[in-house]
Each structure stands twice: as C-alpha cells, then as structure tokens.
C-alpha cells in the first residue's frame, strides 16, 4: 500500500522522505490549504525544491489546495493550481466543485485527488466527482466503517485513500462551521479550525483552562494530559451531564486495521499532521512504513508505539468500528 505522509515545512518533507514516505502532501503558505497555520507551509520556491528532492528519492508530492475559494478571490486558488502543476506536483488535492471544474478544464493533465474536505461518503458522490471532473483518487471521510469502505470500493472505479493516524474530525469534513461560529475563522474559508490566535490558556484553581473565542472548552486537572483546544473535542454540559459531548480528546490509530483496509481495496494510507514537528513526522512515518511492509509480507501489525504522540495520549480506531456512532 502507498503511504501518504504530511509535511508542514521543507525540513519535515525531507524527514518524511528519509523515514520512508512513498508520498508526501503539503500546501502553500496561504489560505488555499486547510492547514493555514502561522509559520507553516511552503513558498513557491520551497515547494519547487521539495519536489525536486522528493522525486530524486523516488517519492511523490501532492499539493493540497483544499479550502473553498472566496467569492471575488478565486484567482488566488487558480494561481495555486497552475503553480503546483508547473512546479511538478504529482497531483493536487481539491475539495471545491468550482475549483475542480476549473482544474479539469484548464489543467486536464494535472492529476486530481478529492480532498477529505469534500466529504464524499458514498459511491454516488465518488462516481459523481469521477465522472464530472475525472478525479482519480478520493480521500474518504472519517465517518465510514471498514465494511462500508469495502462496499464503496466495489462500486467505484477510482483509488481510495484513508486516514490511519492522527487528529480526527468527528463532524463530516468540509461541512463544519463550529470554529467560524465561535471565532469567525473557518476551515472552509480560512484553512484553520479553532485557531491558535483565538485560544487563551490560564491556570485557575490548579486547572489548565482553555478558552476559544471566549468560550471555555476545557478544564484539565494538573496531572491529566492536555488536549488541543478544538471545539468538537471540548468538554461541555448538557443538562445534568458534563463531558465530551461530541468526542473525547483522542486521536486515530488504525495500525491494526491495515490488513483489513488492504482487503477492503484501499490504495493509500494517510497520516494526519502537517502542523506537527519533524520529530513527529519521523517517528510516525517510520512506524507506518514498517507496518505497511509487514502487511505486504503477511506479518502481524506492530502495536501501540505512538500513543505518546497522540492527543489525549490515547488512541481510537474511530468510525472504522461501528460502535463509534
């Protein structure tokens, strides 16, 4: 199986290549991609050099242009497509209908992947994107069970890529404005979710209190693991109950499901974390390359090596197991 790994900086990209990534995905340092964080991402020059480096080592580079272009500002996204193509990207990862249509029309030779932000969750959606825009690969939303993925693959003619490690959206991706409601900054429009600029931490009665846009979303006791200040993993009160109403602060590790995902017809395994350091990239990529090699040789999957790198220092197989719902 193909291992698709994140890189938020040129150094992280080189690290991923050296650690065994078949493919690296990254984005430009602007609002065109869904990890538009301070200090992160690639200039045109950096991307060009990174692609040369990756290709020299036999790895591919995918460029995520997966936010929804702003009305009146579409040319920024169109330029990103054109630059990714001329710099030699192996594919672009897109979510917006209009941008897919533009790319299919103006850059037909540039391979198109459907971003998870398009949340194509059934064979009709996937076949629609394949037929309308000649999309060659679909990143499946993190809402499907392994059995459903298998059933989808039986009905479609394009490659599928699934997340196996990292942060986990509990909402259908690309269809969530929680962050925008609380902070005015949205994943779809600005490429950020629960942005750092709107986070404040304080120590209150020994607890670490996290607020986002003024809304208290966590109170963590001293010795407990600290979560990301992400809205959907916040702690809330609903009547007499207090807890993680939407999802616990945890992240995905589907290592042990890799053989099942292979049997379900999945082409590529994706690691989340363009916002993480090169230390994370190296450890996770190395572990998953090992797992992919083990799967190819029919050996058992390695277990539980990466919990400390995970939010909540706990992992879940998420929606891949039906009880998650």
């Amino acid at each position: 199986m193909e291992l698709v790994c994140p890189a938020g900086t040129p150094a992280a990209l080189r690290t991923a290549v050296k650690a065994g990534a078949h493919t690296i995905y990254c984005g430009f340092a602007d609002e065109t991609n869904a990890r538009n964080f301070p200090g992160l991402n690639f200039s045109r020059k950096e991307l060009g050099e990174a692609i040369v480096f990756a290709h020299a080592h036999g790895s591919k580079v995918l460029v995520a242009i997966n936010t929804f272009p702003r009305a009146g500002g579409e040319d920024i996204w169109h330029r990103a497509i054109s630059d990714a193509g001329s710099l030699g990207a192996d594919a672009v990862i897109l979510a917006d209908l209009g941008l897919l249509a533009y790319t299919a029309e103006h850059h037909p030779e540039l391979r198109r992947h459907l971003s998870v932000q398009a949340a194509a969750a059934n064979p009709d959606a996937i076949n629609f994107y394949a037929e309308a825009f000649d999309v060659r690969r679909v990143v499946l939303p993190r809402v499907l069970t392994v059995a459903e993925i298998k059933a989808i693959n039986a009905e479609i003619d394009v490659e599928t890529e699934v997340f196996v490690f990292g942060g986990l959206c509990v909402m259908a991706e690309g269809r969530c404005s929680l962050s925008s409601y609380a902070t005015g900054r949205s994943p779809n429009m600005n490429g950020v979710c629960s942005p750092a600029s709107h986070v404040s931490y304080s120590e209150e009665e020994g607890d670490l209190v996290a607020r986002l846009g003024g809304y208290t979303i966590h109170r963590t006791e001293k010795e407990r693991s600290a979560p990301y200040p992400t809205l959907c993993k916040g702690c809330f009160t609903s009547r007499e109950q207090t807890g993680h109403v939407f999802e616990d602060p945890t992240s995905l590790d589907a290592t042990r499901l890799i053989p099942d995902l292979a049997k379900a017809g999945v082409t590529a395994l994706k690691i989340e974390g363009r916002q993480r350091s090169r230390a994370y990239v190296e450890k996770v990529v190395r572990a998953f390359r090992g797992a992919v090699e083990a799967e190819a040789q029919g050996r058992p999957m390695p277990e539980g090596l990466l919990a400390t790198l995970s939010e909540g220092q706990a992992v879940t197989t998420g929606a891949y197991a039906k009880v998650w719902r």
Partner: protein, 302 residues
C-alpha cells in the same frame, strides 16, 4: 431595480411526531411565505415516523399557492438512503439537494434547488451548478456579506435565485455519530429516537454555563437563533431574492408573519427584532456570520 425579497421555509431539522408535523404544515399554509422545502434532512431513521405527513403537507401548501420542494438528506451514507434519494427525483417535484451525491441521480435537464448545507462559496461553484440546472441556491450560513453580494450578482447573471439563511438556529455541523444517542450512552443503531424529546434540540453549554450549541441527533446547531431581521435592506440591495426561515417548535407562524411584514415595509425591523427576543428559544439572537466578527455575534441591543 431591486426585486422584492420573499420567504422560503427550510425543511424542519428537528424530530417532531406525525401529528405535530401535520399541524405545523397546515398552519404554515396560511402564512405569507412563498415557498416551503419539506422532507427529512437530518436522519433517515426518523423518516418512517413522519413520512405520512409529507403528501398531505405538499398538497395543502400547493393549494395555498406555495412552491414546494422535497429535500434530500444532508449526509447520505447507507444503501437505503441512496435509494430513497434516487426515488425523490421520480416524485414529479422539485428536489432540493442537501448532499452533492444526489446530483448523480438527477435526470438530465431536470431543474433543482440547492440547500445551505451544500458548499457554494464562490462564482465557479455557482456557475457550475447553474449549468446543471440549479434554479435556487441557499448560501451556507457562514458566508460574509461580501461573498453574498458577489454571489447574488453572479446568480443574477446565470439565472439562479440566491437565498440567505434568514432565521433559525444555524446548522453548524453534521456527523455520522449521533450526539443525542451518545448523551444517553447509546450508539446510533440503538438510539431509541431520543432526539424526539427535544423539539428544538438539546442544549450544550460551556463549563461556565454559557449557552453555546444544541445537539439535534447527528446535527449540531448554534444555541442562538440566527436572524437577518436587522439586515433585510442590506440583503435586498445585495440582490438576495429570499430569506430562508428554519422551523422552530413555538411561535413559527408569528415569526413568518413578522418577517413578511418587515419585508413589505409595514413593520419596523427594530421593533420586530425586539419582539423576536420573546419568540426564540432562550431569547438569544445572532447575526455575526454576515457582518460581525464571528457567527455568535449579535448586531442589535444585547
């Protein structure tokens, strides 16, 4: 130059019982709204309990002179849901698309509407949908006025009427997981339809007891009710053709009449805004997506 704005009623996002649903549409047929979208948007498990209300609702509404469309589900995953979606296009009515995968079932040349849960953020997307036969598009609630203005302009160029989320708890997210069931320590397959206990959703407050969100089965809404009451002139000038009003369990007829009166110019917007505080759940209003800093902001008096 500017056309008058009118009112569209959104599909009811909540789970009400059959009689309540029937009564709701009977009452709605007497209100001054121009069109109504009916059908189940949020969860296909609710459908067997309420689907018998829809034929009568359609008939009553059409007789009363309203345009009526049927909505698809917002998140289609199961085989059964795909089949239901395909069947919608055979009903001989306009279909409102709330999940793009429905486009795969669209018969060639059949016009359709697009709901606010489909991502229409820019000119390219709007033009593409228009070319496929979109007649009306309700924009996603999070769009700021600059985007609305530009899209209304493009809509006018390509013959698509543009609507804006005018009233109702803002639909912020949809998931495969049911939060109502999760709050009852159940999984979705064994939900026992607990979302039916909360006709306007179940409050999800912050740890500081601040009202924030509501859970509605697999959907998450804002706790505050979005209202464009203070921006009707702005939206009309921008070229928006309709405000979309999303059902709530109480006072909905009064709310429809109030917006209609404001649009007709027979009622002062500020006056109706003050009344709205008494008419929406917990008296909380928001309009920040359009002109504020964040969605939860309210431009009027606190």
């Amino acid at each position: 130059m500017q056309e008058a704005m009118d009112l569209t009623v959104a599909p009811n996002p909540f789970f009400w019982n059959l009689e309540t649903t029937k009564d709701f549409y009977r009452a709605l047929s007497k209100t001054p709204v121009s069109r109504v979208v009916v059908g189940e948007l949020v969860c296909s498990k609710r459908l067997p309990f309420i689907q018998d209300a829809f034929p009568e609702a359609v008939e009553t509404l059409v007789e009363a002179g309203k345009s009526v469309a049927l909505t698809t589900l917002a998140l289609i995953t199961l085989k059964r849901e795909r089949k239901q979606t395909a069947d919608l296009f055979d009903a001989g009515m306009i279909v409102e698309i709330s999940d793009l995968s429905a486009l795969r079932h669209l018969p060639q040349g059949q016009p359709f509407w697009v709901g606010p849960l489909v991502n229409v953020y820019n000119e390219g997307t709007l033009r593409w949908l228009a070319a496929q036969g979109a007649e009306r598009v309700c924009l996603p609630p999070e769009l700021p006025i600059e985007s609305v203005r530009r899209l209304a302009q493009v809509g006018a160029e390509c013959g698509v009427a543009i609507e804006v989320w005018g009233h109702g708890r803002a639909p912020l997210a949809i998931s495969a997981r049911c939060y109502h069931a999760r709050l009852h320590d159940r999984i979705k397959d064994n939900c026992q339809f607990v979302c039916g206990d909360d006709p306007d959703g179940r409050d999800v407050d912050t740890l500081d007891a601040q009202k924030f969100l509501v859970a509605n089965g697999v959907q998450t809404l804002s706790h505050a009710t979005t209202s464009m009451v203070r921006h009707c002139d702005l939206l009309r000038e921008a070229g928006v053709s309709a405000l979309r009003l999303s059902p709530q369990s109480q006072h909905f007829v009064e709310i429809c009449e109030g917006y209609a009166a404001v649009l007709e110019g027979v009622r002062d917007a500020e006056d109706f805004a003050r009344d709205l505080v008494q008419l929406v759940p917990d008296g909380q209003l928001a309009d920040g997506f359009l002109t504020g800093i964040c969605g939860a902001d309210w431009s009027g008096a606190a």
